[in-house]
């Protein structure tokens, strides 16, 4: 147990820990990853899940209307993602866990913005990440953003 507790943080730095019991809808999503490139048509800011709508072409050149789930608003704000982090018309690259049914639906892992910056939603990936599904690594930094001293009008798009 002690050994496992010591090993776990190291593992978590590199890979996301998949819950062993079903979070709602977890069973619907594959553990595989898929990357799509396309146009963001809407960033739906809502609870219990915000989500991205992205039009992306498949291998045959056909436009698919992807619906990509993120987490709840408070969790997003905790890691610095806001209602204006993504804008309709943005050309984005999204890495996601697709649903097993084959529908163009998935759960977001990260989004590469037009400016080249990457917004991470899970702890996968190298370097320091912001995380919408696991423990927050930037919690001390992002909590400060919620105090009255923050200039909310500037927005928080990374």
């Amino acid at each position: 147990m002690r050994r496992a507790r010591i090993a776990l943080p190291i593992i978590t730095l590199l890979v996301v820990s998949i819950p062993s019991i079903a979070h709602h809808g977890n069973a619907a999503f594959a553990s595989s990853q898929k990357t799509i490139k396309g146009t963001l048509t809407e960033w739906v800011w809502s609870n219990p899940h915000s989500f991205l709508l992205v039009d992306a072409k498949d291998d045959g050149g056909n436009v698919q209307h992807w619906r990509i789930e993120a987490t709840a608003i408070p969790s997003l704000i905790d890691i610095g993602i806001t209602k204006i982090s993504f804008k309709p018309g943005d050309q984005v690259t999204v890495t996601l866990n697709p649903v097993k049914s084959g529908e163009p639906v998935g759960r977001v892992m990260n989004v590469v913005l037009p400016n080249g910056k990457t917004v991470y939603f899970t702890s996968q990936g190298s370097g320091l990440t912001v995380d919408g599904n696991e423990e927050d690594t930037l919690i001390k930094v992002n909590r400060a953003a919620l105090t009255v001293s923050r200039d909310a009008s500037k927005g928080t798009a990374p």
Binding site: S46, N47, S101, L128, T137
Partner: protein, 287 residues
């Protein structure tokens, strides 16, 4: 710069993962010398409190913190035959009995009030506590729900259909009726009665039930100036054969009083849009 931040954050990550992986809410040693020697204020649990192990520690997506619905015997509440029947009728989105999104029957997904004590077992985030000479008021971030815990000497007794307060009947209500008392300088205990029946509310995200016979005991223990520990006991003889603990010294830390607590609501419009765009498709329902 990014590399320096990355290395500096590793201890933070390791600490937070250790704290969450153990799923233990036992109070640990104070983090610094000043916390260890400074006494907690007397008869004062006021402040803006958030889960000490990170904001997601209170989400409890798989059921109550001390008894997650993982199928393990030690995490299975002691159901009565009736309680088990009600539990088996629930189709939750969480826990080991979870169903796909489109097939759930959780009243919360229909934006019904979550009620008490589920307000503590679903997205339990920044929680503001205020008090005056008559009551402690708890303000929850989810749906901006609040409730009063009176310590003005009123007597609450459970009766069929609700409670009596100093002999006067009051019907069951979503967040019950609460009375509290200081059991020592830093511990405030409340008793809650008169919550809603089991066909209107669930106890937690995993579909455990709660009836209008429920008695909840909350213990707020201010362990230090910056730390509050919450213990919640469920005593519902209609649903469970004996009392059991749903939160065990759940640690909370004091936040900056200037913090602007983010609200979180259930909007039927937003739920419908989510189900239309994602919920149905992820459940294998195609248009």
């Amino acid at each position: 710069m990014a590399t320096r931040i990355a290395w500096a954050a590793i201890p933070i990550l390791m600490f937070s993962v250790l704290a969450s992986s153990a799923q233990s809410q036992q109070s640990g040693p104070a983090k610094n010398t000043s916390e260890a020697v400074a006494p907690a204020p007397v008869h004062d649990i006021s402040g803006t409190w958030m889960p000490a192990n990170g904001p997601k520690d209170g989400i409890q997506v798989n059921g109550v913190k001390a008894m997650p619905a993982d199928g393990k015997p030690e995490h299975t509440p002691p159901f009565t035959p009736y309680g088990l029947k009600v539990y088996q009728s629930h189709k939750p989105l969480a826990g080991y009995t979870a169903v796909q999104t489109a097939f759930n029957n959780d009243p919360r997904e229909a934006c019904e009030p979550v009620g008490f004590p589920r307000i503590m077992f679903y997205n339990f985030r920044e929680t503001q506590i205020m008090q005056d000479s008559s009551k402690v008021t708890v303000l929850y971030s989810y749906a901006n729900i609040w409730r009063d815990i009176f310590f003005d000497g009123r007597e609450i007794k459970p009766v069929d259909g609700g409670v009596t307060i100093n002999g006067d009947f009051r019907e069951s209500r979503w967040y019950g009726y609460s009375v509290g008392r200081w059991v020592d300088d830093t511990t405030f205990v409340s008793d809650v009665y008169g919550t809603m029946p089991d066909d209107r509310v669930w106890l937690d995200e995993a579909g455990r039930p709660a009836s209008d016979k429920l008695h909840v005991i909350e213990e707020f223990h201010r362990a230090s100036p910056d730390r509050l520990e919450l213990t919640v006991t469920i005593d519902d003889p209609k649903i469970y054969m004996k009392p059991w603990i749903a939160m065990n010294k759940f640690p909370m830390k004091l936040e900056d009083s200037h913090i602007d607590v983010q609200d979180m609501y259930c909007s039927p419009i937003e739920i419908k849009k989510y189900n239309t765009e994602i919920g149905d498709a992820s459940s294998g329902i195609t248009k």
